[in-house]
Subunit: 413 residues, 4 copies
């Protein structure tokens, strides 16, 4: 009688390469074999490696960030068969808890170099940088960014069900067209399928080859299934409604974050960690039609850290770029400017630019689309919580430059 201990649907081994673990995979493809089966209505725990599969160390150099092999990333745990789920259903995923692995109470935030991953501001801040965060219960702090400490809004960066072959084909076609159309740009605009270092779980041989050839990369979120949405509020207690496209759903999850800011601007911008997520799965038969659903929806849980509305400083940005050029209603340009305003503000206290870049990526900053109709300027805002700092950053206080150390850089920076 009574409650049993909650079952682990999958465990990971931090001492073993991610590529050798059958419960992991790193491509979205309907043919990746099931890593296990979960009942409709069941609650399970699922362990996840960090999104790089352990490529980043707890040390004071960003060499590992600089050298990350991006063909090996986003190892997800799964895919799981959810009993009774069929195409057209909605899979209701209640995130009952997320925890770091007890044996690894730390995480990392990285700025990727422009030529290996990059980030939202990589043309301004092109170097590799890193901050290590120590977890103390619900709080985290970093020796690389002194003066801040906050409660994590812990969540998975990636979760979703496998695409059907048709959806996968759509993804590859439309992203391929973008790559075609942007060959003149001096940057990678999307990642096409790439067989290098593909990991298809227990799938070997032909399956692995097929997954490598066709499988969608896990970097972007995509409207049809969610995936790498990097939504900071998808935390403890949230309910996510996911479209199902293949029999058994083939649900995968990974890329756990101890905390993230809206936008996750430095790409590896959350506090990345290995951890365990507790999920209740429920199948909503015919849910996609019933909800008129084309993309996932979610309802946050009740336990988000609350600072009080008056404990944020909000910065404004507009679609005029740093060269003074006017863009038409471009929220991306506006948000970029919003971020730069925060750099200018926080620099006054003694932080270096890469510390700020790391901090805005991972702290619980609120990024809002304020106005997107007053032509030609979109206006976006970023709210920075005052209470994550252990000194007062309020505008009525005269800023004094402090000795705030440095984040980790790569050896040749």
């Amino acid at each position: 009688m009574g409650k049993q201990e909650i079952r682990y649907a999958a465990k990971v081994d931090l001492d073993k390469p991610a590529a050798e673990q059958e419960v992991l995979h790193n491509r979205w493809h309907p043919d990746v074999p099931f890593a296990g089966t979960i009942k409709n209505g069941e609650v399970v725990k699922i362990e996840c490696v960090d999104w790089t599969g352990g490529q980043i160390g707890n040390n004071d150099s960003a060499d590992d960030v600089r050298d990350v092999d991006l063909t090996k990333i986003h190892y997800l745990t799964g895919p799981f068969e959810i009993e009774t789920a069929e195409p057209g259903d909605v899979l209701v995923v209640e995130i009952q808890d997320v925890q770091p692995l007890q044996e690894q109470p730390w995480g990392f935030t990285g700025v990727f170099p422009k030529d290996n991953g990059g980030g939202f501001l990589d043309d301004i801040f092109p170097k590799a940088a890193k901050a290590i965060w120590d977890f103390e219960g619900i709080f985290c702090s970093s020796r690389h960014i002194p003066g801040v400490r906050f409660a994590g809004l812990i969540h998975p960066g990636i979760l979703g069900c496998a695409p059907s072959p048709e959806i996968l084909a759509t993804w590859n076609k439309r992203e391929g067209e973008l790559i075609e159309a942007c060959t003149h740009m001096d940057r990678i605009v999307a990642q096409p399928p790439n067989a290098t270092n593909v990991h298809a779980g227990s799938g070997e041989g032909d399956i692995k080859e097929k997954v490598g050839k066709e499988g969608a990369r896990t970097i972007p979120g995509r409207p049809e299934h969610g995936g790498n949405c990097d939504i900071k509020n998808l935390s403890r207690g949230s309910k996510v409604y996911l479209p199902v496209h293949v029999k058994g759903a083939k649900f995968s999850v990974g890329d756990l974050h101890f905390s993230q800011g809206d936008g996750e601007i430095s790409f590896c911008g959350a506090i990345e960690m290995a951890g365990v997520i507790t999920i209740k799965f429920t199948v909503m038969k015919g849910g996609m039609e019933q909800l008129g659903m084309k993309s996932p929806i979610y309802i946050p849980g009740p336990v988000e850290p609350q600072f009080g509305p008056g404990r944020y400083i909000y910065f404004e940005g507009f679609s005029v770029d740093e060269n003074g050029k006017q863009h038409y209603m471009d929220a991306t340009v506006a948000y970029r400017q919003t971020c730069l305003r925060v750099f200018e503000y926080l620099r006054r206290f003694g932080y270096n630019d890469y510390q700020i870049y790391l901090l805005l990526s991972c702290a619980p900053v609120q990024g809002h689309i304020a106005g997107i109709v007053d032509i030609p300027n979109a206006c976006t805002t970023m709210g920075v919580p005052i209470d994550i700092f252990d000194f007062d950053i309020s505008p009525h206080i005269i800023a004094e430059k402090k000795d705030l150390g440095s984040c980790a850089f790569a050896s040749n920076h």
Copy 2:
């Protein structure tokens, strides 16, 4: 001894054309004469007309919205001389209260037709539409959108100090270049100076002519001074820090909103109203340099309506447009898709598309930039509060189409 009644720095007359009232003006220009003087440290009340200067009536036709004369809009109250303020200072504006005018306890939300103002989704929803909102204390409801009722997050859409001649020249240059560059587009991308219906307050003759010829239109917010930011959280109790560019600051305010959603997507999307704002003005000498300030910042007040984090449904959108085309990290496309997902969801309950368009513009929806680094997809979200509806819109409830009436349309729609 004791507190005097708070002084009105300006009053408006709803029975008189806005163009004939000397405390109003409708262009940003350093030469608009002062409408009054306010002491450093003083608290005053300032009355404002609605942004159209009374062009919209409390009736059931959207003809007035369809026919709005956009050369006559955004009548602002001011500009006020703030004693001691000089270029380089920051003007601290504490919004102590905002109230509708007691004699006009209603407001309106409009969808502007594509060929006269338009909006964020005007290519999909090109017609004029309107909803009238009745105010009941802190709450509002509309006969045109039955089934919803909410507390307003009341705020000014526009506030800012006058540009210097140099800043004004910059604005006109960069927006002119955009207009030049976009002549191929089938739409108005920015509004250049236009002498038609210019109102320069008490400025007549040469001054008025100059303001008409050079004065910046009030439609967009602009980084150098704020202006029409349409930030829904700039509500009661907020403190805004505004750069000062001319002697005396020349502060103006207007475009009061009873409520607005993030993005204000239908352009006239807030609940527009005439009202009175109570402000405390404080000059922060040398504040621009001290704060490293290029654009305004603000701190919200403590009294925002709180629904609890778990009382929102969040919708996701990505930078893949409705034709399936992949865009590169375009937050504007993503937010557009996010909005469309809410249309699909709310349509199931019986609302027509224009009712939804109006509602998402003015209700306190949360628009977030969730992830803006996972190439090629930006991900944005919109949180819709469940508790503004008087029926349950939760996803676990089977939606039933109700008779939810209609918003107002134009006669020839």
Copy 3:
């Protein structure tokens, strides 16, 4: 077409004695004549005088507090006939707004002397004292308690429907028995009917005499109808469900507060003011039986000032009194001790005891019954918001005595 200006169901005249205004009364009795009629479903505005009917002035002496005539207090506006309401119904009162009168933007908090009203701590702090608060929009501050400023949680201290003759008789009986039983105590324990200065609205002659002889004093709240509950969270947007005991309900309201702390410990502890309340009235037929209701219930509105849970300092108190005597599970003793702990804490910053007494009475402090089962000690807590102070009162800061002036005292104190 369209919304009319909201009707005033009653207006008061601040230049006329309260006792001469027919829309006011100061006793609970079923025979006080109706002051007006309100439709079921109607929204009206109702003006109220402050609870003393104007006995307290905006000055720097507490002589007026010391000399208040307590037979003249708690002038309520009403009673109103609510159409269709009958005994057994529930009157749903939605408080849509509360505002100070525009011509009187200030209020007061008083410590009543022990021999004229007293308060929760009158044996320790027996003198009269006063603070005047100036209103600045949603905020208030006091020249008598420098260093604090906060947004008001504005609300009515008193609202309720008239008792039936049977209920009135019950009140008089049970309170009379208490007075009888406590003749040995060195204090007034309840106020029996008292004809002195009775005001029965438009009721004169026999009616007035009867009301004077039998009418219940308005000081205590009472379970059967609510009355003077002094619940700080009954603010804008709240819905109160009130039992109806007589035909037409005979609803009265008054004792408006700009702000109050849990407990309102100094008796005249809220920020007392004259003002106007906007209410929507709805009759719920047979509501008392349907809700199993013996006492009022309410649902707060969504706009309470939010500081964030981590922005309070909580003090603990137990049922051991200041003489070291152990009481059995006495929450009143425990709350008294809790209050005293805050005195000790705030004194360190330079406030005098009466300033603290006034402040804890009117600022939005949270008073909780934490544990009421661990014999013999009840444990209560008081949460004091850090952000109402303009200096940092956090425990990790070394307290420095400042010059914080003084509250007003009576001339002979």
Copy 4:
């Protein structure tokens, strides 16, 4: 380099009697030997048994509750030596996390029979009853109280430092005097020292005898050190400031709760569990004098579950008891009445009285002291969150009796 796994300062063994574990003890006494040493500034994990030391089973009978041996309860983990702590210091305890033991994902709430522990309402509800709660991440639900589910506000019921001999003597004297004074009452009013089943950790022989003879029982919280405060908001992220009375502080903790309501009215009213608490200890030298501290204070963490102020139904109670007797300003009587009003309300949905008693004890209800000055009636309120129920309990909904099963009762009830 980098963060080590957090050290366990103490572990418990659920398969071994609590009385045989040296890291546990069940009396407050300065002579209980140290169970370990913790550095000033250190973060450690501490495991705790449930407050009964495992006397209650996960089953459907309340026999175990009925028969609990109250001489064996409140096994605390500790006492720990905190290095550098001395009398007069303050021990700052930051609760970084609290978790149930992974191998025991359930807890219990009990109503103790009147003749063995009792509770706040034991004269009305004298029987033994029990509910078992299953934990699903941050949520809990019970087969004994269907229809409710909520996120736990997880916290320790008891924490504090050991009393000095002088303080201990004071406790025994004042509680003894209460017992003396109340011999006429038909109930136990306090628990004097009792050698039966004393557990003094590793202390044996003379020490154990002394602890048994003099040691204070752990049931009540006490002003001088805190102890069993049962404060529901002392949850993750909270900082508690505890007076130090003996060298090394001798800090103990236990009685972990998954959730509790204000008042914890049924005595064993929280959701009691075995678990692990992560604490950071910091010594504040001379803190008692510096803070003017006589009783502990605390600052809550930022992650309390938030429902939104408008998602509570508040019930009112006054100091008139259920026999109609008027009490003078008695908050205990008022809170009792407040509770009874909730019974009457929830009964309408089909819950039995003991289910309601259990629920109000453990769900996150808000118990406020609303007004404690309006003689003779104290007014208290209880806010019940609407969103913990999976059906709508709003007053505008017609209540329907449902089949809501039953809590567990004792076999002979």
